[in-house]
């Protein structure tokens, strides 16, 4: 049977929640960043799905908007990993639980 918008929406919802579960439950900093990327990608999928099944795809709003989100996601990933490096060097650990003390 023909693929409709709902299929894509359900798929991106599932992917988003998987990303959310990962972000909330896992300890490791880098896995958290990975889950962040998963959530962003799920959102992108949603965007493109709405553009594909949307009223007038000629305007190319979907791909444009996704391009911008991908650019932002890339910068965010770069910055996130730079901070992870800083945290690792300071706290000597990758486990988020021990990164508690705010005071210097």
């Amino acid at each position: 049977m023909e693929i409709t918008l709902n299929h894509y929406l359900i798929l991106s919802a599932v992917l988003f929640t998987i990303g959310l579960i990962g972000a909330l439950t896992r300890r490791h900093i880098i896995i958290m960043l990975v889950c962040l990327e998963i959530m962003l990608n799920a959102a992108n999928l949603n965007l493109i799905a709405f553009w594909h099944f949307g009223p007038n795809p000629i305007l190319l709003h979907g791909p444009l908007f996704t391009l911008f989100t991908i650019a932002i996601a890339a910068t965010e990933a770069a910055l996130g990993l730079a901070l992870v490096l800083a945290i690792y060097r300071h706290f000597k650990t990758v486990d988020l639980e021990q990164v508690q003390d705010l005071k210097e």
Binding site: T17, L24, R27, H28, I30, L60, L64, A74, L81, L85
Partner: protein, 166 residues
């Protein structure tokens, strides 16, 4: 077309789940790369060809490798499998996200509109049109994004290198 969608969706879900579940961090990152490539396939199915290419180039090509580098720089080379897996508040986290999932799915399944067929079958969006629209109405936003990218680059370099100073 429908078979391709289900295969791609299955791979995507599998990649995402493995990314969370696997104990070894490097395996997790490799499975997230699998997830990104499944998504690129989905984008091609949705006829957004350029986005699929950018997804492969940006996500798999550089963000994936960035994470691998980060792992290499932070853990000892072989990684220590002994540390605990779940954060302290994992139960609450699971509960909240489960509730959120229900909040998403329930309205979708009930309405299940049928009329959403796409007019896109005849129109194959070429990269040239995307480039042209990027330039005339959205030129300002392209400039902003360029600024943001350079700022992000410089910030990342400063954050990574200055930390080694103290």
């Amino acid at each position: 077309m429908t078979v391709a969608f289900y295969i791609m969706a299955a791979i995507a879900v599998l990649g995402a789940v493995m990314a969370i579940a696997l104990r070894n961090v490097v395996h997790a990152v490799f499975s997230v790369l699998l997830f990104f490539s499944a998504l690129a396939g989905l984008f091609i199915l949705l006829l957004a060809e350029f986005i699929a290419v950018v997804q492969v180039l940006v996500y798999i090509g550089s963000v994936g490798i960035l994470m691998l580098f980060a792992i290499m720089l932070t853990t000892k080379v072989t990684g220590d499998p002994t540390r605990k897996l779940l954060s302290r508040g994992w139960a609450w986290g699971g509960l909240v996200s489960g509730a959120l999932l229900l909040a998403f799915l329930v309205p979708l399944i009930t309405q299940s509109k049928s009329e959403s067929n796409s007019q896109l079958s005849n129109f194959n969006p070429s990269v040239k049109d995307l480039g042209l629209t990027l330039m005339d109405p959205y030129f300002a936003s392209v400039g902003v994004i360029a600024l943001l990218l350079t700022a992000g680059l410089i910030a990342a370099v400063v954050a990574a290198s200055s930390a080694s100073g103290e």
